[in-house]
Symmetry: C2
Subunit: 242 residues, 2 copies
Amino acid sequence: MAKAYGQYCPLALAMELLGERWTLLVVSRLIDGCRRFNEIHRGLPRMSASLLSARLTRLQDAGLCEKRPMAEQAGHEYLPTSACLELEPVVMQLAAWGQRWARDMEPEDLDPAFLAWSMSTRLDTAAMPSGRTVIEFEFSGLSREYRRLWLVNHDGVVDMCLKHPGFESDVSVKADMQRFVEAWRGFRSMREEIAAGHIRLEGSPANRRALPKWLLGSALASVPRLRPGAEREVSAQLRRWH
Amino acid sequence: MAKAYGQYCPLALAMELLGERWTLLVVSRLIDGCRRFNEIHRGLPRMSASLLSARLTRLQDAGLCEKRPMAEQAGHEYLPTSACLELEPVVMQLAAWGQRWARDMEPEDLDPAFLAWSMSTRLDTAAMPSGRTVIEFEFSGLSREYRRLWLVNHDGVVDMCLKHPGFESDVSVKADMQRFVEAWRGFRSMREEIAAGHIRLEGSPANRRALPKWLLGSALASVPRLRPGAEREVSAQLRRWH
DNA sequence: CGGTATCCCCCGCGATACTG
DNA sequence: CAGTATCGCGGGGGATACCG
């Protein structure tokens, strides 16, 4: 009640809960099927564990999720209630709006851990060879010079690694990270970027040919971006200078 | 960028802007057709003018609204862009979700100024007599003992007054405010509340008979509430006591 | 009326350390 | 691994005064 809007307007009552920082992203993970604490956390790498814990408690209090002990393992699972699942259309439309109209990406938005998680959920494992396949990524254009990460598919089970997984890579991808993410998000064509050499592949010819099929790209890649370029920010800057 | 989430996720980029306190409520007013500063402010009575000003500037910078000087009058008008108007389905669904699942109302949520604004937008002026009609409300159950307000319709133009408008009232409504708002929101039947005497009308028989038709109620009144009663809050309390 | 400038308090949340 | 406890700061935003 601390952050209440002082009006009974249903939109205000909804935003009192859902407008709190991180909350709708947690809801989104629950809707996406994440159940365990660290599973949710992996999709929100910049969120502190203590804050995630607080948000999950808040969501329980509001009746959007239930925490229950795991049957055979340690720890708990967090289950979305129907109140939570009914937010799916809202989350989808907000995300689509973000794809169309939200601000352009900045270098600070390029968290490799998030990209790794995001790619791990959008890998076409059915199109991949049986047994184990290791895809390595090496990104440049980041503050720490370059950054490596790995996706490991083992018969449909995908793991993401920020440290060397101990297996040899079957195919590797090298690119400027911003450019790669623009392709992943559908702002550029992945195949054209590869053809132009902006995204470089290494590995067997078969794997290099197959890789573009494995990477499904963002689920929103087909939603066209409508926001005009950077002129707007410039004009905002100008206004502030008087 | 201060409050960025550090990930390029479109939902995160959208919430970075829209999750800021008050922002989506301002967007909602723009979508509802409010154009002038004080017109927007009337629908958000608990928001300070300085914060509304800041939010409107922020929305301009983000490309959701445009400020332009009025042609013949003093001041400016604020126009929603298509990026803003595309949020209409999001706002509608969030409001509907709030009606179904958001927390129950508390006395602090009953701002008379908001109720007055809200009723002024949902008055069936076509069903009202031509010329001037004044409806008076007197609410009890508030901290300041009781609170009066007036709606004045003059040939389709509706004004809300928190002070006596200087005209005599044609019909007056007396009720406990929480109970009235529950009826307004569709949680109770307005007609049944009147019949049971929980909402009392005074005025000519014709006006008393017509008044329930004039008050259209919340636009979301027909959306059924699904949230269970207060047991949930109790269990949250209990958890916090250990 | 239609806003802007300033001050200041509070609490949200990030960081860190710790526990079963 | 799966969280919880604590501490400290930064800035969001409420209140108030002011201006064109």
